[in-house]
């Protein structure tokens, strides 16, 4: 698609190209004071240059690590770009990380500067500043609440911009010289993995890898500058980095930043993105909220919703995938689109979605089909931080819930002897920062990278199929396969269940922890006049236990149909007295359960599940949002579920 002679292999080159080729198209938007403000590529580039010069004045050197922490805002995206123009390396951090987690990353990467969103982040950094010996200055975007802070090492973003504007021509020259030294092999960004197992690792990605992977992904879906997306995912997640910075810069598509943390739904509706990426929990949450609201609606609305949703479930996917559907069904779907699907998509902000992806984790087939039956082109992709995300992506007419697509351009894929998925890609990472041992274990001499995921190539579709993390697939004592994620996903499809953790590796039977979804169950409680004052109280309610028991038994019934999985049926389970929380280290910021940590922390509950007790008392440490710690005491009920016989499907009958 590119006609220029220079290879577009770095962020600075992409920015220059965007200014030259579509300088007057919108590049960034942010809702501020209730109005969407727009910056064109020319304006955005000017902002980046001013900031870059200001950062030189401040003393940012080549190779410095600059932490970027805050919610998605154009200023922080420009910070990433400005830092890259200086030959320094941006390190985005999760804005909701507690001070301890920040300390680990900031000391590990030896961050010299930090550019942060607001007072909250400044406070966290100042709390741990004694341990950050290398950190020089902090720059903040939003001055609110910072008036009385000591400003000797604290600067406002505005002041940096001003100093950049006033800077002399020698600074300008220095900037140009530094930018010209940024090449394909230079480090583009240092991204820390979410750390499902153990401490997170710093993944060093080069400009060439990021840009190469982004361009291949754009090519796969034909992304252009006329596409637009909502940047709402955490900036520290590789998914957002690739989508907002990588793919946005490579295609020239406009990045829209939400107004605030809680305005996502409204902003999504106003932006109406054409390209959208969300992790399964988000898709789950949206669907749950739809069903909750429908239950509160009038009988007529509820009736027509159910009727048309059933119809969509029957033919919606076929229509989306352009298979033949009889004329009556087609007409009914058309009618449903006017009455239900269209307005529903509009409410969800999905009317304009051309391509949507779910990534980060496996998604349940029911959830996946829900969106596709509405006519939303939700597809799957598979990737990881080490690969600049994109490894496999599904094509428009080859979409299945249980596979993740074929390798895209520039990616080679193979399955290792132990069933692990291996790849070689333009997007492959250079190394783990300061961890040559882990680099060596993951990436071999020929450039093959081990994903840590177990999978195989599906024979019917030719697409990759992921079973689970390679190290979490285990065996029960009787030798049967133990694939916890598969079962957990089945449980999580019930709107009432937010999280599930299955245990059973090297045991006789499987048992589970459940988290209820406070929205869904709370709404149910309200309708049934059940009063409760806290999550804990609701979770321990007898009626809630009964409902969950039904859910678990339904899953057991389902598992019994599959001879491979029937041993994973859940014999006993309990509803946890608290929600699994990233602040407590129980799940990652991207909402993946840290299985071993959870089983250790709640070892008393696990052993109770494997005993014949019907209830157990426990005391759990919890971390509050501001980092303080406290204890939660509770008595947790243990419930038994019915196991089902494996049904031998008798297909011999003639």
């Amino acid at each position: 698609m590119q006609s220029s002679d220079v290879a577009l292999d770095t962020m600075p080159k992409l920015l220059a190209r965007n200014v030259a080729e579509f300088g007057d198209s919108p590049a960034f938007r942010e809702k501020d004071l209730g109005i969407w403000q727009t910056w064109t590529w020319k304006e955005a580039s000017a902002e980046v240059m001013k900031l870059a010069k200001g950062l030189i004045e401040l003393g940012v050197s080549e190779g410095d690590h600059v932490a970027v922490i805050g919610r998605n805002r154009p200023y922080l995206y420009w910070s990433l770009l400005a830092v890259q123009h200086l030959g320094a390396v941006p390190v985005p951090l999760y804005q909701d990380a507690v001070a301890d987690e920040m300390e680990y990353i900031l000391t590990h990467c030896n961050a010299a500067f930090a550019i942060v969103g607001d007072q909250e982040q400044v406070d966290k950094i100042q709390d741990i500043s004694g341990k950050l010996t290398n950190l020089k200055d902090i720059i903040y975007v939003d001055p609110k609440g910072l008036r009385k802070y000591d400003k000797s090492r604290l600067h406002s973003y505005e002041d940096i911009i001003k100093s950049g504007m006033k800077s002399s021509s020698s600074i300008q020259e220095q900037l140009q010289k530094r930018t010209s030294k940024v090449v394909s092999d230079s480090t583009c960004v240092l991204l820390y993995t979410s750390g499902t197992t153990g401490k997170s690792k710093g993944v060093v990605q080069t400009h060439g890898a990021i840009v190469g992977a982004a361009m291949n992904a754009n090519h796969h879906d034909g992304l252009t500058k006329d596409d637009y997306q909502l940047s709402y995912l955490p900036m520290a997640w590789v998914g957002d980095y690739m989508l907002s910075v990588g793919q946005g810069m490579a295609s020239g598509a406009c990045i829209n930043c939400p107004e605030g943390a809680d305005t996502f739904q409204v902003d999504l509706r106003e932006v109406g993105p054409s390209y959208f990426l969300g992790p399964p929990p988000l898709w789950e949450r949206i669907k749950t909220s739809v069903y909750i609201r429908i239950q509160d609606a009038s009988a007529i609305k509820r009736g027509s919703f159910n009727f048309f949703m059933n119809h969509a479930a029957k033919v919606g996917k076929d229509i989306l995938e352009k298979r033949s559907v009889n004329i009556l069904d087609r007409f009914l779907y058309f009618l449903g689109n006017i009455i239900i699907y269209g307005p529903l998509k509009n409410m969800l902000g999905m009317s304009n979605v051309r391509i949507a992806y779910t990534a980060g984790e496996a998604i349940s087939a029911e959830l996946f089909d829900f969106y596709r039956s509405l006519g939303i082109n939700l597809k799957q992709l598979y990737g990881q931080t080490e690969a600049s995300v994109f490894l496999t992506m599904q094509n428009n007419n080859e979409v299945y819930a249980d596979t993740v697509g074929k390798p895209i351009n520039g990616v080679e894929l193979k399955i290792g002897e132990n069933g692990e998925v291996l790849y070689r890609s333009v997007g492959s990472f250079k190394e783990y920062y300061k961890n040559p041992k882990a680099t060596k274990e993951t990436k071999n001499k020929d450039g093959w990278v081990a994903t840590g995921d177990a999978g195989y190539i599906d024979e019917n579709t030719g697409q990759l199929r992921i079973i689970d993390r390679a190290n979490s697939v285990g065996k029960l004592k009787n030798g049967a396969l133990f694939a916890p994620k598969y079962v957990e996903n089945k449980l999580k499809f019930f709107p009432n269940i937010l999280e599930a953790v299955l245990f059973g590796d090297a045991r006789d039977t499987c048992v589970a922890f459940l988290n209820i979804d406070l929205n869904a169950v709370g709404n149910w409680a309200e309708r049934n006049n059940i009063s409760y004052s806290s999550y804990q109280e609701l979770a321990a309610h007898e009626q809630v236990g009964k409902i969950l028991k039904e859910h678990v038994e339904e899953v057991n019934k389902d598992l019994a149909l599959d001879p491979n999985m029937s041993s994973c049926q859940i014999k006993r389970f309990l509803v946890l007295h608290k929600e699994l929380d990233p602040d407590d280290g129980e799940i990652t910021r991207t909402r993946k359960v840290k299985r071993s940590f959870v089983s250790e922390k709640y070892s008393d509950l696990v052993s109770a599940l494997y005993s014949d007790k019907t209830s157990v008392s426990t005391k759990t440490e919890v971390t509050y949002e501001d980092g303080r710690k406290g204890y939660l005491e509770a008595t947790v009920n243990i419930l038994d579920a019915t196991l089902y016989e494996v049904k031998k499907q008798d297909k011999n009958a003639a």
């Binding site: 004071l33 109005i35 409204v266």
Partner: protein, 260 residues
């Protein structure tokens, strides 16, 4: 921190307020300095809300004087007081329940709008210009108080803590010199109280608004207030910094409890 050099913004002198035979406030005097957070505390029925109502012009004391910005204030009605730059929130939320957050906050600008009802009805030319100007200010306040996610939600359907915040936003929309808060944290949980405390401090620091507030939560008062007035049965019991007040034996006996 009390700065002795600070200018006195408001001074109430020897206020006496009676309802028939009941004496609500008896001979109370204190001042409010520019830029400070001044707390008024006391047990139930001590006359705290009455005191705010006197400052606010809702009650007219039988005796005593009110000095505001160096001038003795004549007897005024609440709307006249509002025009002098004094805004307030209420103990029991007094918002327009059917209107959205932004509409409620915009009502706070009403006193500052110069175009009359007919102009506003026309929504044309200068009227629109004026509305845009005021809307911008309201949006800044909404952003400041972090209620942009409920900008277009009818306030009646909002949880209590948020309604309190909308009320604060509306009071701030008047850009008052002196802001009176009647139990801004009543009925809130710990987290909501922390949020509200932070907003009150931010308002004080960012906008330089002088604040007088009534509050029951001692922890909050001790953290927030620069100086505290203690009332008991309509009389002034103590006046000073939180530390001084906390150490005052009369206050300990009357309000914080007599140690056993």
């Amino acid at each position: 921190m009390v700065n002795e050099q600070k200018k006195v913004m408001m001074e109430v002198k020897n206020i006496k307020l009676r309802f028939g035979g009941v004496v609500a406030i008896q001979n109370v005097s204190f001042d409010i300095q520019e830029g400070e957070i001044r707390a008024i505390i006391g047990p139930n029925g001590a006359g705290k809300s009455s005191m705010l109502n006197v400052i606010n012009g809702f009650y007219h004391p039988q005796e005593g004087e009110i000095w505001f910005n160096g001038e003795k204030r004549p007897s005024m009605e609440p709307y006249e007081v509002a025009k002098t730059g004094i805004a307030r929130t209420f103990q029991n939320i007094a918002l327009f329940k059917g209107m959205t957050t932004i509409e409620n906050v915009m009502t706070g600008r009403q006193l500052k709008m110069s175009k009359n009802f007919l102009w506003q009805l026309l929504r044309y030319g200068p009227a629109i210009e004026e509305e845009v100007k005021h809307r911008k200010r309201c949006e800044e306040i909404i952003d400041f108080l972090e209620i942009n996610n409920i900008r277009k939600t009818p306030v009646g359907s909002l949880p209590y803590g948020l309604q309190k915040r909308v009320e604060l936003a509306r009071a701030l929309a008047m850009e008052p010199e002196l802001l009176l808060l009647d139990e801004p944290m009543a009925g809130m949980n710990v987290e909501e109280k922390q949020d509200m405390s932070r907003f009150i401090v931010d308002v004080n620091e960012e906008f330089g608004t002088t604040i007088a507030l009534i509050e029951h939560d001692m922890g909050v008062v001790m953290d927030l207030a620069d100086r505290v007035v203690v009332l008991n049965y309509g009389e002034l019991l103590a006046d000073g910094t939180p530390k001084e007040v906390q150490a005052d034996q009369a206050v300990i006996d009357a309000y914080l409890g007599v140690p056993h």
